[in-house]
């Protein structure tokens, strides 16, 4: 138990450092897409939702799992699409001719 917890904690701590490092390089102008893009990334919780729904026993567990997968899918698909829509506005025009 302690070993696997330490493993997870190591990954967690390192991810904090990487997170602050890369995110502090994002310019202010892109902060809204940054937020909605990272928002889509935390939709990765859909992985967890699929795992628990796939192994669920009983009706109630199935209902709860179904809602979890549904919410996760909304988060992932909506998040990436809306971020793409915003970023398209920033990339489609470079310096004016």
């Amino acid at each position: 138990m302690i070993d696997s917890l330490l493993n997870d904690a190591t990954i967690f701590i390192l991810a904090i450092f990487i997170g602050f490092e890369i995110i502090s390089k994002v310019p202010v102008i892109l902060h809204t897409p940054l937020m909605s893009g990272t928002n889509a990334i935390h939709g990765i919780v859909l992985v967890g939702a699929m795992l628990v729904l796939g192994g669920a026993h009983g009706t109630l567990a199935h209902v709860v799992g179904f809602v979890a997968v549904f919410l996760g899918a909304v988060n992932v698909v909506g998040g990436f699409l809306v971020t793409d829509r915003m970023l398209l506005m920033f990339t489609k025009k470079g310096p004016k001719p």
């Binding site: 967890g48 628990v52 799992g65 899918a73 506005m89």
Partner: protein
């Protein structure tokens, strides 16, 4: 339905690749040029993680998963396509809430699963599960309230009620007690459900008293919460990709929260518990505002403003949320194009809290085809106001109030502001003399160099456009 099961090692390797793609994706967000590619990179990582998860042997039945994914994707896709850029903060709040809700439910099911094996859930999994449920539930209900405030359907402004602190403290105590009860294995499922309910209630009560102008902070903080909730479920499921991506999001949300608080020069505790913009805060500003009562503002006509702009060399536009409310982004760009054709240099000065979420104003202007090279943040532009002939303030108020520099009794004292008052002429487009969200009088309007152009921002800008055209 039988899909071939993948070996757990292959799945873990794929999760590693997905995590790398997420990190690379965020890194590409460091420039507007590569940003779209960055989002696609992260999306590819997501797709990979989801596909290998489907091939995990833990998954016994697929029908419900596919049905839920199809339904959720449809809802997500339709909302993402339809949403107006002005409503982006609400949209992000809703997506954020979905993620938080999903994390809370995943934690719940994992708890059910573990307590089936033994009533005393192992300590490490137990703590992770409870944290995932706690943060996820707060994020879920908090985001929904934030959405309601931003959308203007419920709890607008800072809603306060007597006994607020007592209620919140009691709720916090109940949450701690239930946490212990569940963890020691004495409470079982009823205690867990009660715990979840209390956390959800806390999310509601925590966001309800926060005013609309503080939403950039709230949204950033909730974003970070959902990330951490995801990381907590990762601990519970011993799933590395959940831990890594959840933590990345947690870091991003935290960083943005800090930036937003700095931009308003208020500690996070003050934003969350201060109920800013309520009667007390506005009353405190009374002393200095009274000095302004005797002074009068100078009105200016559309024609004079047009002449001023057309014969200027440097113009800096200061857009505020009022610009977005009036839907005047396109008109302001039109005016800027006309001025540029007359060889006037036009730049935009964007305050970090100009919109309703971090960076919101940049997106609104980008949508109106303003090139991002013309958008400047506070640090980049403030030294240039001295050389500007005209500062055109459109729908902004508190972010240009010099009281933030000079008046120690002002609620916004110490907030970094745009130095519009240093420009040679200041033209302020404003509907009326009504103060901004903080309820504070703005001395800038009474400045000797300041001129007020009253009316709806879009209307006034459209008149300016035709006036400049006819010159």
């Amino acid at each position: 339905m039988g899909l071939p099961a993948l070996h757990p090692t292959v799945i873990r390797a794929a999760y590693l690749v997905a995590s790398i793609l997420f990190i690379l994706g965020i890194r590409q967000l460091s420039s507007p040029r590569s940003a779209r590619r960055g989002n696609l990179t992260a999306g590819a990582g997501m797709l990979l993680a989801l596909i290998v998860t489907l091939l995990d042997r833990q998954i016994l039945s697929y029908e419900l998963i596919f049905a839920a994914v199809v339904l959720g994707s449809a809802v997500g896709a339709i909302s993402a396509r339809r949403v107006a850029m002005t409503d982006m903060p609400q949209m992000v709040a809703l997506f954020n809430g979905s993620g938080g809700g999903a994390a809370a439910l995943v934690s719940t099911l994992e708890f059910v699963h573990l307590s089936r094996v033994s009533p005393a859930v192992p300590l490490d999994s137990g703590i992770s599960i409870l944290l995932g449920a706690l943060i996820g539930a707060i994020s879920f209900t908090g985001s929904i309230i934030a959405w309601g405030k931003l959308q203007g359907v419920m709890f607008e402004g800072a809603v306060t009620y007597p006994g607020q602190k007592v209620v919140n403290s009691l709720l916090l105590l109940a949450i701690i007690a239930l946490f212990v009860l569940v963890l020691t294995g004495t409470g079982g499922m009823p205690a867990f459900v009660a715990f979840l309910g209390c956390c959800a209630l806390l999310g509601v009560l925590a966001v309800v008293p926060i005013g609309g102008g503080d939403m950039p902070v709230v949204i950033s903080l909730l974003n970070s919460f959902t990330g951490l909730a995801t990381a907590a479920t990762g601990f519970a499921l011993h799933n590395t990709v959940l831990i890594i991506s959840g933590t990345l999001v947690g870091a991003s949300g935290t960083l943005l929260t800090i930036l937003m608080c700095k931009a308003m020069n208020r500690p996070i505790t003050n934003v969350l518990f201060g109920a800013f913009g309520s009667g007390a805060a506005a009353g405190a500003a009374g002393g200095r505002a009274a000095d302004l009562a005797g002074k009068s503002v100078r009105e200016v006509s559309v024609e004079d403003t047009a002449t001023l702009l057309a014969y200027a060399e440097n113009v800096i536009v200061v857009p505020g949320y009022g610009l977005a409310v009036a839907q005047a982004q396109h008109t302001v760009r039109e005016l800027a194009d006309l001025l540029k054709a007359r060889h006037v240099s036009v730049k935009y000065a964007i305050h970090p809290v100009a919109g309703r979420m971090p960076g919101h104003m940049n997106v609104l202007l980008a949508e109106a085809n303003v090139p991002y090279e013309e958008l400047f943040d506070l640090d980049q532009i403030n030294s240039e106001f001295e050389r500007a002939d005209v500062a055109l303030v459109v729908g902004a108020n508190d972010v240009v109030n010099p009281a933030a520099r000079t008046d120690t009794s002002s609620p916004i004292y110490g907030m970094p502001i745009l130095d519009a008052d240093k420009a040679k002429h200041i033209v302020i487009l404003k509907r009326s003399m009504k103060p901004g969200f903080a309820g504070i009088e703005n001395e800038l309007f009474y400045d000797d160099k300041a001129m007020m152009l009253f009316g709806d921002a879009k209307d006034s800008l459209a008149k300016l456009v035709s006036a400049v055209k006819s010159m």
